[in-house]
């Protein structure tokens, strides 16, 4: 992928070297073999909540290539899936299958002989948070939510011990977080000991419950507790509520929630590799059925003269694809849905999708998924912008099964609709669900080598989105001159809509934009020269408002959205 001129750049918080402990450490068990030159092929498996995705990667002409990939509903047998991939390779390219050792009579059975990189998405479990004061509760709750937990919380300041006990012993609660500030605030000192006794009482009722103690909470009552709970000491909550930028407590809670193969944490490692290898600022928007995460990775110089990557990840369980238990979440899906549907029916269909995510695939079921995906990305950005900012990145990647449930050009449209930032950005999706499994490779150098070796097979490029801010709607806005390998095309621009320019995957070029006004595209100006790269959606000049303003009347809004949707998703009416 080429490097485009960045949009409005904001400094990302902190720069760490690749070996920094703040980047999640993947499993030691994660296969090192793909980096082994003797290995001819390997499998990847991404066990999602709704989807089981598998891929076969093999060596072709001394480099790694994606040879086959597919996805099935979760619950399918992984060995059967991988066997299907091998069969398809044998059938489509017997010579290649023979070359990598999977042809008939090649010796060892591929399912046994080839290593597997496995990532598993851990559904957001419920954590009960109890604190002495509301102030500390807010800090703990923010850290736990950002670490991917579903949280129910209370404080001794507002809630009596009976209500706290009932809260922490609700069905589905798997762990308890008890915390005070370090040093304890004046109003926390007296309550810390009682809080520890209450926690011991809760632990005695729930055998096997994990208890996290953040800050100087006395552990003596818990050590004496009947049925000896599992106690984990964590750092005290630090900073003001809302200040999550470098929360060590959040990182520790994330590590405690997911295992070493947790696909969301692995995405952070993969994003770091992409940033180092491509030299681009990378943003991953991962949307799943049981949770969501946003990762921002930015390259920078390392102390040893190489390239380091600063990586930040924030998980947002509330941004799960079909989550509707928050006020307004169904309204937003209805807002984006281009088909008229009464609210009760819409709720039922979304609730059905939450329990059977692979059903309702055809016709307007796909449009409904597109609307739900827009709603989820909105929630993800709203929750993470205060932490990660909304500054320009060079490459936005859609990860998770939700992005594969709509045609690829429509995925670019979804990014354009919801990620409203002035600037130019490349867009791609993790179509073969490789990033999670690759992120489980513990060794940065090995992971970087695999990312570099896979090259353009790793991601499915959707194209480049150019979004200027400050154009007057429905007026001539200027002119685009696109030059690609000697070919030159000119397009007159009209503000207020999309302009699509065909630029296929693998193509790249230079876009010269001459505006009549002085819109913002990173900096403000009249003339811009931007490097662009192609994809299934091509070059998408999004000349709509930032933020996007749509008609209030539902019928007019649906009509307008449908017009845009049809341009990038012609099969929607088929």
């Amino acid at each position: 992928m080429s490097h485009v001129e960045p949009g409005a750049a904001e400094p990302l918080v902190g720069t760490r070297t690749a070996s920094s402990p703040a980047v999640p450490a993947p499993s030691a068990r994660a296969v090192a073999a793909p980096a082994d030159d003797r290995q001819s092929a390997f499998f990847t498996l991404d066990h999602g909540t709704a989807t089981l995705a598998g891929a076969l990667v093999g060596r072709v002409d001394r480099r790694w290539r994606l040879l086959a990939a597919t996805a099935f509903p979760a619950g399918s047998n992984p060995d059967t899936l991988l066997g299907l991939l091998v069969d398809r390779l044998r059938s489509a390219d017997p010579a290649r299958a023979e070359a990598i050792g999977s042809g008939p009579g090649s010796g060892a059975e591929p399912l046994v002989a080839w290593p597997r990189l496995v990532a598993t998405s851990v559904p957001a479990a419920t954590l009960a948070v109890i604190a002495a004061t509301e102030r500390t509760r807010a800090r703990l709750e923010e850290a736990a939510v950002g670490a991917g937990w579903n949280v129910i919380a209370g404080s001794a300041e507002r809630t009596d011990p009976l209500a706290l006990t009932r809260l922490a012993t609700r069905p589905g609660v798997v762990a308890l977080l008890v915390g005070v500030a370090d040093p304890p605030d004046a109003d926390e000192r007296d309550l810390a000991a009682e809080l520890a006794v209450a926690a011991a009482g809760i632990a005695a009722r729930r055998p096997g419950m994990r208890v996290f103690l953040a800050g100087p909470v006395p552990d003596a009552p818990l050590l004496d507790a009947w049925r000896a709970p599992v106690i984990v000491r964590l750092p005290a909550p630090a900073g003001a509520p809302g200040d999550l930028a470098a929360s060590t407590l959040r990182a520790a809670l994330a590590a405690a929630r997911g295992g070493p193969d947790d696909s969301r944490r692995a995405l952070a490692a993969a994003a770091g590799s992409l940033a180092r290898v491509l030299g681009l600022r990378v943003e991953i928007l991962e949307i799943g059925v049981s949770g969501a995460a946003r990762v921002v990775a930015s390259p920078g110089p390392a102390d040893d003269g190489g390239i380091a990557a600063s990586v930040q990840i924030v998980e947002v369980p509330d941004a799960a694809l079909f989550r509707m238990d928050r006020p307004g979440s169904v309204d937003r899906i209805d807002y984006w849905f281009t088909q008229g549907l009464d609210r009760a029916r819409l709720r039922d269909r979304l609730a059905e999708l939450a329990i059977a995510s692979w059903s309702d695939l055809d016709a307007d079921g796909a449009l409904l998924r597109g609307a739900a995906l827009r709603g989820a990305v909105e929630r993800l950005l709203a929750a993470t912008d205060p932490v990660l900012g909304h500054g320009g990145v060079d490459l936005v990647i859609g990860a998770g099964g939700a992005w594969s449930a709509v045609p690829a050009p429509a995925a670019a449209h979804i990014v354009a609709d919801v990620v409203r930032r002035p600037g130019a950005v490349q867009v791609a999706i993790d179509h073969a669900r490789l990033l999670g499994p690759i992120g489980t490779i513990a060794d940065d150098a090995g992971r970087d080598a695999l990312v570099a070796g896979l090259g353009e097979d790793l991601l499915l490029p959707l194209g480049t989105i150019v979004t200027p801010r400050g154009l007057r709607p429905n007026r001539p806005a200027g002119r685009l001159v696109l030059e690609t390998r000697g070919a030159r095309s000119e397009v007159e621009l009209v503000a207020g809509g999309f302009t699509l320019v065909d630029l296929p995957p693998g193509a790249s070029g230079t876009a010269e934009l001459a505006f009549r006004g002085t819109p913002e595209l990173g900096p403000r100006g009249r003339r811009f020269k931007i490097a662009v790269s192609g994809g299934l959606a091509g070059l998408l000049l999004d000349l709509r408002d930032i933020p996007l303003r749509l008609p209030e009347r539902p019928d007019r809004r649906r009509e307008l959205l449908g017009t845009w949707e049809r341009a990038l998703w012609p099969e929607r009416d088929a």
Binding site: P161, I202, L361
Partner: protein, 338 residues
């Protein structure tokens, strides 16, 4: 092709000897003992309706006996003039600083065993765990409270507004047709103890939950009532394997439980097993149909432009069609429960 059948997600139909959890709140008093056999309808705990927190000073004669465990039932203590303020009977939440926090409350309700089984664990104030003698038919959700009764299957085409009458009082009815909150309210008013439905819309679920909350708040409550949903939210018919199981259990005493959601069936009934390659289509244009698995159908584009892995299915009506695998399911024979 039987190997490729494993690409179709399997759903458990029956769980042998399931372990079920009956929810408790702090302050509830368990009367059953771990290891004890219980029979359907037996009282296993007393639930208090409006638990409240009571602070009591640790009595002098109790101070040297060690701190009792949280969850321990503490008997009432009479007030002694000038010496001890007394305390009602209740469950100990915790003891700290010479004071006990007890949970107490009036108006205990009785919690009954929903099926024959054995008490395997008591988590005070959290749950009572029973291992049930018979198998459980897997459902997705129980709305309302666990209960039991004689299983009665209404005919496929019956109108619940006409079919639900007082003759069914005490029964658990299977409602195969369209079900709404009105039909369920009528069932409750007729003294029916529970209903089994294939699916229930979100609006009807909320109406039912609101109705249950009003009953909980009343001083004179109606008998518990539970609605067991076997599927999701959109209207569906029972799969043939489920119908056969319900037919076989008809007339027997069954239980409804929510954790996990199960219809508890009698241990002494011979239940039919689902066929291994029987496929149920639960979405798309062929939703509700059943057939036999023939093998993978490859990646195909469906209406709307999405590509999906498909499977070839010989439908029972004689057609062979490629259907996205995400819209197929099969029933596993028996899956053991934790």
């Amino acid at each position: 092709m039987t190997g490729s059948l494993e690409l179709v997600p399997a759903r458990a139909l029956l769980v042998p000897r399931p372990r079920i959890r009956l929810e408790l709140q702090p302050g509830d008093r368990v009367t059953a003992v771990v290891g004890e056999a219980v029979h359907v309808g037996e009282v296993v705990a007393e639930r208090i309706r409006d638990p409240r927190l009571v602070e009591a000073v640790v009595p002098r004669d109790g101070a040297d006996q060690g701190i009792p465990l949280p969850g321990t039932w503490v008997p009432a203590e009479h007030a002694l003039a000038g010496r001890h303020a007394g305390a009602p009977a209740g469950e100990l939440l915790f003891e700290h600083g010479g004071r006990r926090r007890l949970v107490s409350g009036p108006h205990p309700d009785r919690l009954h065993a929903p099926a024959d089984g054995r008490v395997v664990e008591v988590e005070p104030g959290v749950a009572l765990v029973l291992e049930i003698d018979g198998p459980g038919l897997v459902a997705t959700e129980l709305l309302g409270e666990p209960h039991w009764g004689r299983l009665v299957l209404l005919p496929e085409e019956s109108d619940p507004r006409l079919a639900l009458d007082v003759a069914l009082a005490g029964a658990v009815v299977v409602l195969p047709g369209r079900v709404d909150a009105e039909a369920l309210a009528r069932a409750r008013a007729m003294g029916i103890r529970g209903a089994v439905v294939a699916s229930l819309a979100e609006r009807d679920r909320r109406d039912l939950a609101a109705s249950a909350a009003r009953q909980q708040a009343g001083l004179h409550r109606l008998a518990p009532f539970g609605v067991l949903v076997l599927g999701g939210y959109l209207r569906r018919a029972f799969a043939s394997a489920v119908r056969s199981t319900l037919d076989a259990a008809s007339g027997a005493v069954v239980g409804l439980v929510g954790d996990p959601p199960l219809l508890l069936l009698p241990a002494d009934r011979q239940l039919p097993l689902p066929e291994l390659d029987q496929i149920v289509v639960h979405g798309g244009p062929e939703a509700g149909r059943e057939g036999r698995w023939l093998g993978p159908g490859g990646i195909r584009r469906v209406r709307g432009g999405i590509t999906a892995e498909t499977g070839l299915v010989a439908l029972d009506d004689g057609r062979t069609v490629a259907i996205p695998i995400g819209e197929l399911e099969r029933f596993a024979v028996l899956v053991a429960n934790g």
